[in-house]
Subunit: 112 residues, 2 copies
DNA sequence: TCCATATTTCTATATTTGTCGAATCATTGG
DNA sequence: CCAATGATTCGACAAATATAGAAATATGGA
């Protein structure tokens, strides 16, 4: 992951509503959350939510799929891992989180 | 570390020059780097560099001390750890970097 | 004290970002 | 095909951010 991409990811997360949305998506796991649900939960008008989700998508942090009338967003754990990797490698003093430590795609979890 | 603070930290890093500066500061370790040196290395006018360093300082990611005529900036590893901690806990799927994994303050290193 | 160096603050300006209603597009059910 | 639902795009505007020269503020040396 290169600096340019990292900056987009950081910018994407550096905003109240987007950080909150991303957190919800991470909690939701693979199944994801519909745009409208996010808008409602975060108390943000649909058009604004759409704007923010587009930014997250542009940064590669989320993916989306249509499901009937809804568009379901889900967190992209690989991208998040990439970001974390960059930060630990470049913005921490050398070592830290080991190779195998990573953002896991909520594998067998079903709680949230 | 709470969301509000996290957002300021992310915003601080979400900028080309600031990310680059922070990386240099992390590499430099405890001894830090003078504002002017950063400005020169990044090819940014002093006033602009000052602006960016103020943002990093405001986000708590760097500290500064005067040393003769220079003002030396250094990365605050504790703050960076806090940020990483928040991200792993809230933006990754549950577990990942274990408790002991962290951004170390370049302990006995002297290379850079 | 006077000058040079190192930085910051001030000021103005250009650019980017966030907001949100209205209009538009896609999908489903009747 | 038409209406209803869920979401995005458009457009206008407000607010925050980035840039950088000029002026102001420390510090150290002659």
């Amino acid at each position: 992951m290169q600096a340019d991409h990292v900056i987009r990811a950081l910018s994407a997360l550096a905003q109240e509503h987007r950080l909150a949305a991303f957190r919800l998506l991470v909690q939701a796991g693979e199944q994801g959350v519909a745009a409208g649900v996010l808008a409602e939960k975060l108390d943000v008008p649909p058009s604004s939510m759409s704007f923010h989700l587009a930014q997250l998508a542009n940064a590669g942090l989320v993916t989306h799929r249509r499901e009937s009338r809804s568009i379901i967003y889900s967190a992209d754990y690989t991208a998040m891992n990439g970001l974390m990797g960059y930060l630990t490698e470049n913005c921490c003093a050398g070592m830290s989180c080991s190779e195998d430590a990573a953002c896991l795609p909520s594998p067998e979890r079903k709680t949230a």
